[in-house]
């Protein structure tokens, strides 16, 4: 199953500058693991030391924030588009 993931600018250092990558995963937890396999270190940026998604980074499956779905158990299906959106403060 192929899921498209949009990587925000601050994390693109870890994805060799790529703004969009494809992963194989059945749920959001699997997506984070698969991302980390291809781009080591990205999990640490997305999750805290207990493995929970950090509270200043949101993960959206299509248009929905996984915090309001089933968090990292939110299932993914082929063709889903995932966006990682961090808080940014510049002005």
């Amino acid at each position: 199953m192929s899921i498209k993931v949009r990587i925000p600018t601050p994390l693109q250092k870890l994805t060799e500058g790529k703004a969009e990558v494809e992963v194989e995963a059945k749920d959001v937890r699997g997506l984070i693991e698969d991302l980390d396999k291809n781009f080591p270190g990205i999990k640490d940026r997305l999750c805290d030391d207990k493995g929970r998604i950090r509270r200043f980074i949101n993960i959206y499956v299509n248009e929905e924030d996984v915090r309001f779905l089933q968090q990292d158990s939110t299932p993914l299906i082929d063709g889903d588009e995932v966006s990682i959106i961090p808080a940014i403060a510049g002005g």
Binding site: F56, D65, I85, P86
Partner: protein, 269 residues
């Protein structure tokens, strides 16, 4: 109050728009908008609101214009380097449109002064450049039930959302906690393309105009995400969080707190 001849002429291209007309123009001339930060976001936002004839614009900024600001903070000019930004912005707005009363606030917005500063305005624009101020402005607007236009930029990315307290998600519903200081570089450290600030600041001006004119759909409950490199705009849904500490079912933030401490910039004393 009725429009003067010169006002009918000045605003003719928007008065002829469906949904605006003379009535809408009067609403704009009676509108009161507070812009926090006369920087990359506040500059284009203030310019468009001033040109549109928003009657009173408050500008909060404690800094002076620096030459490295001019790449993106388009309300200021080379001649105004070293001048307070609030004064520089006032000068430019008055030069564009004498209908606008500009109230400059040369101060740092804090938990102590914010409620007093925002209380006489219809809507607040957050054009600040740091997390403590963003959470402060959010909480103050939610507690005072003031609509808030949020905008943020980083390198080639921009975000905007409009917060209607009690009706739509607030900034804490979107991001419950700020990143720790080390993980969030500022524009000064990370860089920013001026046009990205222009896009988001202009979206914020557009939100304010729609709010005052009571038309269209606000970015309430929706986050607009802009990327300059692929010229993409996307929207994601932002539901209200029942567990939100400031606008949720059992709020724990019922008065303003110490936001430097909240953002871990300073340890609890």
């Amino acid at each position: 109050m009725g429009l003067r001849e010169d006002q009918i002429e000045r605003y003719s291209r928007q008065i002829i728009l469906p949904n605006i007309g003379g009535k809408g123009q009067e609403k704009l001339l009676n509108g009161k908008v507070l812009i926090i930060g006369a920087g990359g976001l506040g500059s284009p936002c203030a310019l468009y609101l001033a040109s549109a004839g928003v009657g009173r614009i408050g500008i909060v900024d404690s800094d002076a214009v620096e030459i490295n600001n001019l790449q993106r903070q388009i309300i200021h000019s080379t001649a105004n380097v070293n001048k307070p930004k609030a004064e520089s912005a006032k000068e430019r707005i008055n030069a564009i449109n004498p209908d606008v009363e500009v109230i400059p606030y040369k101060l740092r917005i804090t938990s102590k002064n914010i409620l007093d500063v925002i209380k006489d305005y219809d809507i607040i624009v957050d054009g600040s450049d740091n997390f403590p101020t963003r959470y402060l402005v959010n909480d103050a607007c939610v507690l005072s039930k003031k609509p808030l236009s949020h905008g943020g930029i980083f390198r080639y990315d921009g975000q905007a959302m409009t917060i209607m307290p009690g009706q739509s998600a607030c900034y804490r519903c979107l991001f419950p906690e700020p990143p720790p200081p080390g993980l969030a570089p500022s524009c000064q450290e990370a860089g920013i393309l001026g046009a990205v600030a222009g896009v988001i600041g202009t979206i914020q001006a557009n939100e304010v105009l729609k709010y005052i004119l009571n038309m269209g759909n606000l970015l309430a409950g929706k986050l607009l995400v802009f990327n300059a490199l692929d010229s993409s705009f996307r929207q994601v849904k932002v539901p209200r969080d029942p567990k939100c500490p400031v606008c949720g079912e059992k709020p724990t933030v019922t008065k303003l707190i110490d936001y430097e401490e909240f953002c871990q910039l300073r340890k609890k004393e």
